[in-house]
């Protein structure tokens, strides 16, 4: 099948992006629990007198179906954490739409927003820093309930329930966060996020700060809770191997934009965007035989500054497929090259076979076989 032509006006490509996202949900007729369109976040930074604009997130659109886990992956500086926080309005987006169950979050006043926060919560990366050091576990778990006006009886029962959910024990209630190990603290963080029964959980690198042997049990807990409570996850991570264990859909971000999105299998088995391919090939696999046989793409160059991102396609400065068109025309995130309707790629030259040539370190890449 021929490549879908992407030369179109902004409107058409927006519509196409909309369609791609909607098509992703084509299997079910249910409304997405979260609908993000053209989310933009820019930070103003003062640098020695001059004001610079950091384009942290530049037009991100995604949908999350109820019960689905959408993984947002990328390396540092890609804007995934900022996106997660914008979704919950912990950071105010510069522009865009964020709809939770049909309600436009960005237009809510302070009080309504606080009420809306009952339904969407966040689990932080560093359980050490995100739990108030001077509150006991009991207080930490009761707080979300108290803030939303639950009576003490309800609070007590719920706290006991939460302990059971995350497999902590009653004797832990009167201790302080610093008395626990990293894994246990993260359980507290998860319990705290679940206290008021949210439907959507944003998890910002929830296992990155943990030892490998502990990561596995927290991941298992997250998977378990998802089944039991019917939660939807936005799982933000940089570790693609971890993500593979629980993502239904994956969106890959680079320098503030989503470059590829699709069902997990589509992304892992047949990635088409050059960055996704480089990213996947860079992830080490703990198996020496496999590692020896792998074709690894080693990217050259450096990540451009988000203050001054490249024109057109932002990845072009490190891309071995780049041509003149890439500098003038930003590729839209739409299905291409025969991919399924749920699999969208923002690249003028998508494809899954690489006959890359050896280029110099300035912009190129070496392919090893």
């Amino acid at each position: 099948m021929s490549e879908v032509d992407s030369t179109a006006s902004d409107e058409a490509s927006d519509e196409a992006a909309d369609n791609a996202a909607d098509n992703a949900a084509a299997d079910t007729v249910v409304e997405p629990i979260l609908r993000v369109r053209n989310l933009v976040k820019e930070f103003r930074v003062r640098e020695l007198g001059r004001v610079a604009v950091v384009h942290a997130v530049s037009g991100v659109s995604l949908d999350v179906q109820p019960g689905e886990t959408m993984a947002l992956v990328g390396e540092s500086g890609c804007g995934k954490s900022t996106t997660g926080r914008c979704i919950l309005r912990l950071i105010e987006p510069t522009s865009g739409e964020v709809e939770f169950r049909g309600v436009d979050l960005l237009s809510l006043g302070a009080r309504d927003l606080r009420k809306a926060r009952r339904h969407m919560q966040i689990v932080f990366q560093d359980p050490q820093a995100s739990l108030h050091p001077r509150l006991t576990i009991r207080q930490l778990l009761s707080e979300p309930l108290e803030v939303h006006g639950e009576p003490p009886g309800v609070v007590r029962t719920r706290v006991d329930e939460l302990l059971g959910l995350v497999q902590l024990r009653a004797e832990h209630l009167d201790r302080y966060p610093h008395e626990f190990s990293g894994g246990q603290r993260q359980r507290v963080g998860i319990a705290r996020a679940l206290a008021i029964n949210p439907a959507l959980l944003v998890l910002d690198e929830p296992v990155s700060a943990l030892d490998v042997s502990i990561q596995a049990e927290i991941m298992r807990l997250l998977i378990d809770l998802r089944e039991r409570l019917g939660l939807s996850y936005v799982f933000i991570a940089h570790d693609l191997a971890v993500v593979r264990q629980l993502a239904d859909r994956v969106s890959v971000m680079y320098l503030g934009k989503i470059v590829e999105t699709g069902k997990a299998d589509e992304i892992y088995r047949a990635p088409q965007h050059p960055y996704t391919r480089a990213l996947l090939s860079a992830v080490p696999i703990p198996d020496p035989t496999v590692e020896r046989q792998r074709k690894r793409i080693v990217l050259g160059g450096e990540l451009p500054s988000p203050i001054d991102p490249p024109s057109g396609c932002r990845f072009r400065t490190r891309c071995w497929r780049a041509e003149a068109r890439c500098a003038t025309e930003e590729p839209a995130l739409i299905p291409r090259n025969g991919s399924s309707p749920s699999h969208a790629i923002a690249c003028h030259f998508p494809g899954d076979d690489d006959r890359a040539v050896l280029v110099d370190a300035e912009h190129g890449v070496q392919v090893e076989s």
């Binding site: 919950l88 912990l90 606080r114 009420k115 926060r117 009952r118 919560q121 966040i122 932080f124 560093d126 050490q128 820093a129 995100s130 739990l131 108030h132 050091p133 001077r134 707080e143 979300p144 803030v147 939303h148 201790r175 302080y176 610093h178 008395e179 626990f180 190990s181 990293g182 963080g189 705290r192 996020a193 206290a195 008021i196 030892d211």
Partner: protein, 295 residues
């Protein structure tokens, strides 16, 4: 290459039972100079409260011949008016200590409110309040205190007001800095995420985490306020005679330095109080530093 400490090298896989014990608020800072300081302060407080027990003489009336040297019956001799210097010194505590306590408490209160508002809300409120702080701090404290007292009229009450007005900006700045630092921390974000209101966050999260430098400063400032009160009285703007305030006693004593005891006695009293508070404040600061870095 730099050498590396044990704490970094060992790592933190499991909680240390030692840390658990420390969490139970046992005052470990209470040793050495701090203990001495606390005892001295306690003694002064007890003396001030139970004064008639400690000396038979009246502080305000002449009780013996004038300008007597220190002796067994008058430990610090008598002053130019025949009053027992030792008694007056002890009575001075009744003025100086409460004054200092009130000044500091008030200054901390005002400073905390202003600093918290400025640090938490930022923006124009912050700008306005901080300019107020800057203006107040631009004046040398003693001059400002003098100016305010002089315009309000001499008297210990007015001196008190003047000192509060001079002292609050320091606390405002301290608290604002702490609030700004604490505001960024992840657990604040967690509080926002669960839907806590601004006031709850300020009250329950930010303020409790911000008071440590204030506490340390307030303790050390105690001595400074005692000195400032004494200075104001020294130049006649604070306590009025015959009130036995240490500063005015020093003024009287300075008129005739041959009677060294009349100035030395209150001087020694001031030194002991200031040192005591400094020791305690130092130890407090060290202990808070440790608590902040121990996880």
């Amino acid at each position: 290459m730099t050498a590396i400490d044990a704490t970094h090298a060992i790592g933190d896989a499991a909680p240390d039972p030692q840390v658990r014990r420390r969490a139970r608020r046992r005052p470990q800072w209470l040793r050495g100079p701090a203990l001495i300081g606390l005892i001295v302060i306690a003694l002064w407080v007890i003396v001030a409260l139970t004064l008639p027990l400690w000396t038979p003489h009246d502080p305000l009336d002449a009780v013996a011949a004038r300008r007597l040297e220190p002796s067994a019956s008058h430990w610090m001799g008598t002053d130019a008016l025949g009053r027992d210097v030792f008694t007056r010194t002890l009575w001075g505590a009744r003025t100086s200590l409460p004054i200092a306590a009130i000044v500091i408490a008030s200054a901390v209160l005002v400073g905390t409110i202003i600093g918290a508002l400025a640090g938490f809300f930022g923006g124009w409120l912050d700008a306005v309040l901080m300019r107020l702080v800057d203006i107040t701090m631009a004046f040398p404290p003693i001059l400002l205190a003098m100016a305010i007292t002089a315009s309000l009229g001499p008297g210990i009450g007015n001196a008190l007001i003047a000192m509060v007005l001079v002292w609050w900006p320091i606390y405002a700045r301290l608290l604002r800095a702490q609030v700004i630092a604490v505001r960024q921390r992840d657990f604040i974000e967690s509080a926002w995420a669960i839907g806590a209101s601004r006031w709850l966050i300020l009250r329950r999260y930010i303020l409790p985490m911000s008071y440590t430098p204030i506490l340390v400063n307030a303790t050390m400032d105690f001595g400074q306020v005692v000195l400032l009160t004494a200075s104001l009285s020294f130049i006649g703007l604070g306590a009025r005679p015959p009130s036995p305030e240490w500063g005015s006693m020093i003024t009287e004593g300075s008129l005739n330095l041959y009677d060294w005891w009349t100035a030395a006695s209150p001087g020694i009293a001031i030194v002991t109080v200031v040192l005591a508070f400094n020791f305690v404040g130092d130890a407090l600061r060290d202990s808070f530093d440790i608590k902040e870095t121990v996880r």
